[in-house]
Amino acid sequence: MVFPGTNCERDVAHALRLLGHDTELVFHRHTDLSRYEAVILPGGFAHGDYLRTGAIARFSPVMTAVAEMAAAGKPVVGICNGFQVLCEAGLLPGALVANRDLAFICRPIHVRVENTTSVLTAGAELGQVLQIPLNSYEGNYVADTATLDALESGGRILLRYCDDSGGVTAAANPNGSARNIAAVANAAGNVAGLMPHPERAVESILGSTDGIPLLASIAAFAPLIGSPS
């Protein structure tokens, strides 16, 4: 999915291609996604993040089709800015606000896998600790207590920020996210959003391959990802 201002689209396509999947970049003015098995909203600064991050992108023509795919149970994953768009669109609960320290953060962080039934984590192991780059200014996940409790009880928190040995501590929370949340899903588990960038962790020459289980999960959820149905 490419909105004006999106900038991680080629990276995501590159990573999925390495994992053996076909991908196509779809411009935000398209309205028909019927030929796709899964859709990923990559990171970047859709519409400059002006007004509110994700606020304007959410009204792009393509978002109706994205909502339909979500409702149809097909994989819909938002990475970073894509996560923000899905929240604005109401496809995921909560919102993302400025980092606790009001500074952009670009560095590898650790996350712990909290659920293994979602589109994003089906291929990962419970409790698995992954090292994946974070790259955001508005990565601070907020939601009211009721929503957070519902996410907890529904097992819809997919990843939490942790230290390198898996400890979910305040010190390991890079941006102040509520309950160290780094990724959440909808009730059905087919729509997920995450702040870190798995596509930046699929080649050892770039420092980590821990993003593979997450991206592979999407494929597992949608065997024919990308290829015409």
Partner: protein, 719 residues
């Protein structure tokens, strides 16, 4: 005389002689809009009138140079149809007026220089200089500039892969914000600025034109700062990374579809510059209709529209038959596109507004007829005294505590506070990220790699501009060599004081000589650069501060390039390069421990220097850790390896002065026992990695943990 009563040309920063020159060119007195155009185009910033005569000495040719100095960016050939474009620019004065926006628009401007050539910008570097951090104003400037680079660079979607930072009082009222950008393209995508073809249409792409930085280039960058600057201050330009991002994608699609004949970015001097340079470069003229320019503010005069430096604008020259398709591509990317001119023969630039002919000048005269000065130069008197003084032997003390003192310096400590605010991974090219010597990028789908380093040293250049600049080139070359690449091309940003002072002019000429000498030795072409004069406030000039941007190229690139964090216990530590020479002039030791700036820096060694660099490039394809010895000397170089890898070391047999000495042409290499191949440059085995102590034999030691703590907090604790 107050500004109000000054004649118009002087208010625009033009001398009486220059005004006379305009009269001669036109054979009549200029209309207001014409005067505005000449005043900007003939400003120091746009015309290089004080520097042009000297820059010619820089070597700019090599078989792999595709586009040399003169165009928006230099372009080199990487083989198999791949090209790289590189350019560096300064945004010093705007960043002092408003740090966030000044730095942000600096990034925007340098990126346009790159994609104007047809290249996709893939990385940015930011060499920075500020006053000492104990002053709140300097902290504010540093934070603002870093936030501005992050805010614009991250949002526009181009990673920032490094830079450098220096602190000195000389920069307190005149911080230096330089930005360098790299782009890659395939040969057929290369576009130049020339506007050929009578009847071709000039289309203005991007943001609306406002009263941004009116006279910014001519006044801000071409005059010194003083009390009046408040009055002179042009309205601040606000960066719009989103507009720029759309502009990048729109322009790259225009190139892919082969829709543009020529293109030019609008930077300093805005429409005046773009239209006249496009026309002149093609030996043509142009008719321009200012009524077709979308403006942000009502009732802007012709002069204001022509001089405006509003950001995120490009001027594309297209054939009439292609106009519709160009408009469609622009619309797809939500970029405003307005035909504002037509290419004509006869070489005149004719500008209309409201049916009036507000300007009618020979297009080429704006660039070609600009005055050229050979300003007087004389060697500063202060040098004799400084050279005579100088530290040659440091009083022995405990190496551990001295090292901690150095690691606590904000310019030597951990700089991740800066580069972790920058996206430095986008595009999945970054193999060696900021925090090492040169950053290393891969070109996906090939075996090619590019390493880049930026290096400057204002204090050393103050002591001996010629020697120090030659050493900057050598250091940059060594930085890209230890990343496994061969020094391939240089861009330079020459930041100097007031060129009307003979001492400053001397510093400038010496700098150019030193750069020419080293580049010739290494056979590296200088493919572009930027000169920033008048970095002077209330009569105080900055240190002469050339910044060298070095591009290294390798094919194949190392599969496992050296990194500072790949050291493990048991590895042997070697010093590669000459020993014995001790150089404390402008060293970190002299500055931090002795608080002095004197002595004469060592000259480069024309034989050993290049050999060490060749050796480094070769070794980098087989050794796990290599690090050049620069600021802080051997002790700091070793410490940086230990800190990055979390392993201590034991070295012995070094003289006390060898720990801090900063003489050139040396790097540290780590390898498995007995694994160092035979070399044809001097190599000394210093010791081994291991333990959790940085142990300097009889000179003392310090624990890894405390060293790490100190180094990590050096910068943040001061902010």
């Amino acid at each position: 005389m107050t500004a109000a009563t000054e004649p118009a040309h002087r208010q625009l920063g033009m001398t009486d002689d220059e005004y006379q020159l305009v009269l001669d060119v036109l054979g009549r007195s200029p209309q207001p809009a014409e005067l505005a155009m000449y005043s900007v185009m003939w400003s120091e910033h746009c015309s290089y009138k004080s520097s042009r005569a000297h820059l010619g000495r820089l070597p700019s040719e090599a078989p792999w140079v595709v586009v040399g100095p003169g165009e928006n960016a230099g372009v080199v050939d990487l083989g198999d149809g791949w090209l790289a474009a590189l350019r560096i620019e300064s945004h010093n004065h705007p960043s002092f007026v408003e740090p966030y926006q000044g730095a942000a628009t600096g990034v925007g401007g340098i990126l346009r220089d790159i994609f104007t050539m047809g290249a996709r910008p893939i990385a940015v570097w930011d060499p920075l200089r500020f006053g000492e951090l104990d002053d709140a104003r300097n902290r504010y400037l540093l934070k603002g500039v870093v936030a501005g680079i992050a805010g614009y660079g991250n949002a526009v979607g181009v990673p920032t892969l490094g830079g450098e930072i220096e602190f000195a009082d000389r920069y307190a009222s005149n911080p230096l914000v330089n930005v360098m950008a790299l782009g890659i393209l395939e040969r057929e995508q290369l576009v130049l600025s020339a506007a050929s073809g009578v009847g071709n249409v000039a289309i203005l792409l991007g943001a609306a034109t406002g009263r941004d930085g009116i006279g910014g280039a001519s006044i801000l960058a071409s005059a010194s700062f003083d009390e009046e600057s408040g009055a002179k201050r042009p309205s601040v330009q606000i960066g719009d990374p989103f507009e720029e991002k759309k502009l990048i994608e729109a322009c790259l699609e225009l190139y892919d579809r082969g829709l543009v004949v020529g293109i030019q970015d609008l930077g300093a001097a805005g429409i005046s510059c773009a239209t006249s340079e496009c026309a002149a470069a093609g030996g043509m003229g142009m008719d321009v209709d200012l009524d077709a320019v979308p403006v942000r503010e009502a009732d802007m005069t012709a002069g204001e529209i022509l001089m405006s430096e509003s950001q995120e604008r490009m001027l594309a020259i297209v054939e009439p038959s292609a106009v519709d398709e160009v408009m469609a591509v622009a619309a797809k990317w939500e970029v405003a596109a307005n035909p504002i001119g037509t290419v004509t023969d006869g070489g005149r630039l004719r500008v209309h507004q409201g049916g009036e002919l507000v300007a009618d000048v020979p297009a080429a005269s704006l660039s070609d007829d600009a005055p050229e000065y050979r300003r007087p130069s004389s060697r500063p008197d202060y040098l004799d005294e400084l050279w005579a003084a100088g530290l040659d032997v440091a009083p022995p003390a405990d190496a551990g505590s001295i090292l901690l003192q150095l690691l606590d310096d904000p310019a030597l400590g951990d700089r991740s506070w800066i580069y972790q605010q920058y996206d430095h991974q986008l595009f999945l090219n970054t193999v060696v990220e900021p925090g090492h010597d040169g950053s290393l990028l891969r070109i996906k789908g090939t075996t090619k790699g590019l390493a880049v380093s930026t290096d400057g040293h204002g204090r050393r250049c103050y002591l001996d501009p010629r020697r120090a600049t030659a050493r900057l080139v050598m250091e940059g070359a060594l930085n890209v060599a230890v990343a496994g690449t061969r020094p391939y091309a240089v861009v330079d940003n020459l930041n100097f004081g007031n060129p009307e002072k003979p001492e400053v002019m001397w510093q400038f000429i010496e700098t150019v000589a030193g750069m020419a000498q080293a580049c010739e030795l290494l056979q590296i072409p200088v493919i572009g650069g930027n000169v920033s004069f008048y970095n002077e406030t209330d009569g105080v000039d900055i240190y002469p501060t050339p910044v060298v941007g070095m591009l290294g190229f390798a094919d194949p690139m190392p599969t496992e390039p050296p990194r500072l964090d790949r050291a493990t216990a048991g590895m042997e530590i070697w010093l590669i390069g000459p020993r014995g020479e001790i150089d404390y002039a402008a060293s970190a030791y002299a500055r931090i421990v002795e608080d002095r700036l004197d002595g004469r820096p060592a000259a480069i060694d024309p034989i050993v220097g290049p050999e060490v660099i060749v050796t480094a490039t070769r070794l980098a394809h087989r050794l796990p850790v290599m690090h050049d010895v620069s600021a802080g000397g051997l002790a700091v170089a070793l410490a940086e390896i230990a800190l990055a890898s979390g392993v201590g070391f034991i070295v012995a047999g070094l003289g006390w002065d060898e720990l801090w000495d900063e003489s050139p042409h040396r790097f540290v290499a780590l390898c498995a026992p007995e694994a160092l191949p035979p070399l044809n440059v001097p190599a000394t085995r210093l010791g081994v990695m291991g333990g959790d102590t940085l142990y300097f034999g009889e000179h003392g030691s310090v624990g890894l943990a405390v060293a790490l703590e100190t180094w990590r907090n050096a910068l943040p604790r001061r902010l």
